[in-house]
């Protein structure tokens, strides 16, 4: 792989995501940040299992040659499924927060008596 490009992309994605979570004031943008971190981690897992010029790890009528490792792909699939569940829960909580406070700005949420 040229210049370990995927790993640089992983680092960039995670840093961008963390930046969004920490510094953005809009809840939806924070959630987008979390999703970006998750994509970075998933990309990292997939990259670990990839070898240059490898084929999909299917043994039946395989043409031969090296195969990429299937375990990280299985892990990534699981992680994607979990990510969808978390994303759905976070967005539904945001909907309720919006109903209560009429804003998505973190600085304006949570004040006052309930």
């Amino acid at each position: 792989m040229i210049f370990n490009f995927p790993f640089i992309a992983v680092a960039a994605l995670i840093i961008v995501g963390l930046y969004a979570v920490v510094f953005r004031k809009n809840l939806i943008k924070m959630i987008i940040g979390i999703t970006i971190i998750e994509s970075g981690v998933n990309l990292f897992l997939i990259t670990l299992g990839y070898r240059e010029g490898s084929i999909a790890p299917i043994y039946t009528s395989s043409p031969g040659g090296i195969m990429s490792l299937p375990v990280p792909q299985a892990l990534t699939l699981t992680s994607i499924v979990i990510g969808v569940a978390v994303l759905a829960l976070m967005l539904s909580l945001v909907i309720h927060i919006y109903r209560h406070y009429n804003t998505l700005d973190v600085r304006k949420i949570g004040g006052g008596e309930e």
Partner: protein
């Protein structure tokens, strides 16, 4: 006899599978009848509890148990998911199931007037399954999956009272923190997998080289799990989540934080266990430092609170500090060799995990009872409740004595072990710990005075004692507090000491898997 053997042989998987299956069957029973659903959920929990006790008994008498998914034998390289249960795992599993069972009994009356209870019971059982999975698994990726199951269900339960903006906000905070933490865990799992081609904790611990990447993974894991365990300075989500969740859920949340703490211990002692016995004492000192800061900050913040549940939540932060202090002291004193003083500290820390769950749990249940009776949690507006709520007052006093570590309650037994061993390490640490306990006593005496004593308030004239199921749940915990306080040896010798030994013995943990796999 065959049936019993079958249960014992499969108990690790039953402990997770039964609540998981029960969780998704609960809504079906809920369609028929509410009472039937509650009975069903409690039955499922009782079965799980007995299986965990059987498993724990088996583990403590016969040593580490493994359960391999989908095969009889292991082959190298190990790609199978497996559960590995040692005395520490079973100790934590006992705490989790007891808390979940008490919470279910408490919920019967406490949550009765709420709607959407089918989902409540489903999530509650899911949360228990997740916690047990975290504690029993021997596989890093599996740990991540159960961590996420626990996070999702507990975040949904923290936000269960969705008509209140603050609880939704607390739930959102919790899920954001948990997700980022879990992604850090997944990233370090990937770091391990990239280097050692293994996901199994024992195999990683066997082949770990302490490379630069391993250090990054250690930092990420400790950061993520300390965040979920509520250690200062990563505790900011905890008071919100604890105080805004329904009290029955807070009780289980205490168990969830402790399951994360267990993950932290597993990482420090098992995966990086060789590093401890090699030379570095820095992890121990870092834990001691965090412990002291956590105690101080938790207790000092608790003084300033006027909301009862928030006050208890900060006290809970302080209590977490005691565990960390005990465990850190253990790590420091046993860094060259395993010493008796180190084991005492470790025993104190581990025993305090159980005592904290009971003491703080009882306090939260009492706070829930007050809320149930008066619809009020602010200390400024409460008063004179002892007139109408005799039993609750008694339970509160028991909890008060236990949290502040006074004899004859269980808090005293474990805190004494911690004081003793930290005094040998550095007297100042012990002094800070004792002073903080005294402060906790002062804080809770203030609560006793402002909530239960004082003149009768006219608007609380109609207040009645809480229903029997809530009293029964509190009585179970109060009974355990007193019994463990008067006879601490029963618990210390039978489950705490094996747990401490199992935690230290990482060679045994590793060799069990290596011998199964037929490797070196």
């Amino acid at each position: 006899m065959n049936a019993l053997d079958f249960i014992i042989a499969n108990s690790p998987i039953f402990a997770v599978a039964i609540p998981l299956l029960g969780a998704f069957l609960t809504p079906i029973f809920g369609r028929i009848n509410d009472k039937l659903r509650n009975i069903f959920a409690i039955t499922i929990m009782i079965i799980t509890t007995s299986i965990v006790f059987i498993l724990a008994y088996d583990v403590i008498t016969n040593g580490i148990r493994t359960y391999i998914f989908g095969a009889q034998d292991l082959t190298l390289p190990v790609v199978r998911i497996l559960f590995e249960v040692d005395a520490m795992s079973s100790f934590m599993a006992i705490i989790s199931v007891v808390l979940a069972l008490v919470a279910l009994i408490y919920s019967w009356a406490f949550m009765k007037e709420n709607t959407g209870l089918d989902k409540y019971y489903t999530l509650l059982l899911l949360m228990t399954a997740g916690m047990l999975g975290m504690e029993l698994t021997g596989d890093m990726f599996n740990f991540f999956v159960f961590l996420e199951i626990t996070s999702i269900s507990s975040a949904a339960l923290v936000a269960f009272w969705i008509n209140k903006g603050k609880s939704v906000e607390a739930g959102f905070k919790y899920i954001v923190i948990s997700t980022i933490g879990a992604l850090f865990v997944l990233f370090s799992v990937a770091l391990f997998y990239g280097q050692y081609n293994a996901l199994n904790m024992a195999i990683i611990a066997h082949s770990i080289q302490f490379s630069f990447l391993d250090k990054i993974a250690l930092v990420l894991l400790i950061g993520a799990l300390a965040m979920k365990a509520g250690i200062v300075p990563l505790h900011m989500w905890l008071p919100d989540a604890y105080s805004k969740a329904p009290s029955s859920i807070t009780l289980i949340l205490v168990g969830v934080t402790q399951a994360s703490l267990y993950g932290l211990l597993r990482v420090c002692f098992t995966i990086y266990g060789k590093m401890i016995t090699l030379s570095s004492i820095s992890i121990g000192w870092i834990l001691v430092l965090f412990g002291i800061v956590t105690i101080l900050l938790g207790v000092i913040m608790a003084i300033a609170q006027s909301d009862l549940k928030r006050l208890i939540a900060f006290a809970a932060v302080g209590e977490i500090g005691y565990m960390i202090l005990g465990i850190g002291t253990g790590l420091v004193t046993m860094s060259p060799d395993i010493s008796a003083a180190g084991l005492t500290a470790l025993k104190g820390g581990i025993f305090h995990i159980m005592n904290d769950a009971l003491d703080v749990g009882l306090m939260f249940l009492v706070a829930g009872a007050i809320f149930y009776a008066t619809r009020e949690t602010s200390l400024d507006r409460l008063g004179g409740l002892a007139r109408n709520m005799k039993y609750t007052t008694v339970f509160f006093i028991i909890g008060l004595l236990a949290v502040s570590g006074l004899p004859p309650m269980n808090g005293f037994a474990s805190k004494l072990l911690i004081y003793e061993s930290t005094y040998q390490l550095n007297p100042i640490l012990a002094i800070i710990a004792i002073l903080s306990s005294i402060l906790l006593l002062a804080i809770f005496v203030k609560v006793l005075h402002s909530a239960f004593l004082g003149p009768a308030l006219p608007r609380f004239n109609e207040v009645k004692e809480v229903p029997k199921s809530m009293l029964f749940a509190m009585a179970i915990i109060a009974g355990m507090i007193i019994i463990f306080g008067i006879f601490p040896d029963i618990v210390v010798n039978n489950i705490v000491e094996p747990a401490a030994n199992a935690l230290v013995d990482n060679a045994g943990y590793i060799s069990k898997i290596m011998s199964l796999a037929g490797g070196a």
